[in-house]
């Protein structure tokens, strides 16, 4: 380490007072190259490419499963398609939208919206489906 770097670290006054794994410590002492709001560094471009390949494969399987209508029970198709949809949703949200590496508050906010929406509208569907059928 050069003298100028040592001098700069002394000036910054960053003495670790919490264990390095602690979230509060990592928030107060961001690693070099982190943007405000990040807890860990973003993935590297090759990791993004791998995630995109996984997404493409899941999409291909989804389409193949949708063509199995009549060959396998509809209930199984619904379960498989919804499971793959959820996996794709969380892959994009956690890797591309950086919910894995950003501050937990973003994850909490988004999860509230992403869970509240289907929950709310399932209730609406269950209620209105019966009303409209009458």
């Amino acid at each position: 380490m050069s003298d100028i770097e040592t001098q700069a670290i002394e000036k910054s006054g960053h003495e670790p007072d919490l264990p390095q794994g602690d979230l509060a410590y990592r928030m107060a002492h961001p690693a070099p190259n982190l943007l405000p709001g990040e807890v860990r560094a973003h993935p590297d471009p090759w990791q993004y490419v791998v995630v995109a390949i996984v997404l493409a494969v899941i999409t291909a399987v989804e389409i193949a499963v949708s063509y199995m209508e009549g060959d396998i029970p509809d209930g199984l198709i619904v379960v498989l398609l919804l499971a793959m949809m959820v996996v794709k949703f969380f892959l994009v949200a956690s890797w591309f939208m950086h919910l894995r590496t950003d501050q937990p508050i973003f994850k909490r906010l988004f999860i509230v919206g992403a869970i509240a929406a289907p929950l709310l509208y399932l209730i609406v569907l269950a209620t209105l489906h019966g009303v409209l059928a009458d």
Partner: protein, 215 residues
């Protein structure tokens, strides 16, 4: 080796990241969270509920008895929609590569990836216009039946989101051409990226629930 940067307020050399402390960083907030990013996440959380309303409406109305005119089975072209969905999915990859490029100060690659993202988005919109035109030709309009109304409104609102995203991306590309986007502005690109990825995840849901699930 520890990275060194020049403090924006004092001009002193400090370790990179040290300037994020409250009271020194001009972008520091009381919550310790970037305000613009927090606002975008709040918007996205509320937009989940917005799209949820239209998806629920579609599910409620698509197979109401007594409807005249084309049904989903008559008009959907799954192979075509699969291709446009795949293009939108891959635009998320180019978006995140654009962000990675601007974060490491590689502005040439940033412009390439951001423009590729906008072009993928434009291709998706072109596919949607083609699909709408085909449906109209087959007799399905927004006022033909409940299925038509709920389908066109849901996919039309999503398409409008994509269009807004394209304008945003092209604006970022234009700013970069004028050297007005720097490594320090990467948060602006990240916020645009959050919006773009959200548009993609919403389509992941629409594609499965509207097009692929058994009718």
């Amino acid at each position: 080796m520890t990275a060194i940067e020049q403090s924006s307020d004092t001009g002193e050399l400090v370790p990179a990241g040290a300037g994020h402390d409250a009271g020194h960083d001009p972008h520091a907030t009381h919550s310790g969270v970037a305000n613009a990013k927090l606002a975008m996440w709040l918007f996205l959380a509320s937009d989940c509920l917005f799209f949820g309303a239209f998806i629920a409406t579609y599910l409620l109305y698509r197979d109401r008895p007594g409807q005249t005119g084309p049904t989903p089975q008559d008009v959907y072209n799954i192979p075509f929609t699969s291709v446009t969905s795949f293009i939108l999915l891959m635009s998320s990859l180019t978006m995140v590569l654009a962000l990675a490029a601007v974060q490491r100060g590689d502005y040439r690659r940033f412009r390439v990836w951001i423009m590729a993202t906008a072009l993928f988005g434009a291709t998706f919109i072109g596919g949607q216009i083609f699909e709408f035109t085909e449906f109209t030709r087959e007799g399905l309009n927004v006022d033909t039946n409940l299925f038509g109304s709920s389908f066109f409104i849901l996919t039309g609102i999503h398409g409008t989101h994509v269009l807004i995203g394209i304008v945003w991306l092209v604006a970022l590309w234009g700013l970069s051409m004028q050297s007005r986007i720097s490594q320090g502005d990467s948060e602006r690109v990240e916020i645009a990226g959050l919006y773009w990825h959200f548009v993609d995840v919403v389509w992941i849901v629409i594609f499965t629930v509207i097009y692929l699930l058994p009718k």
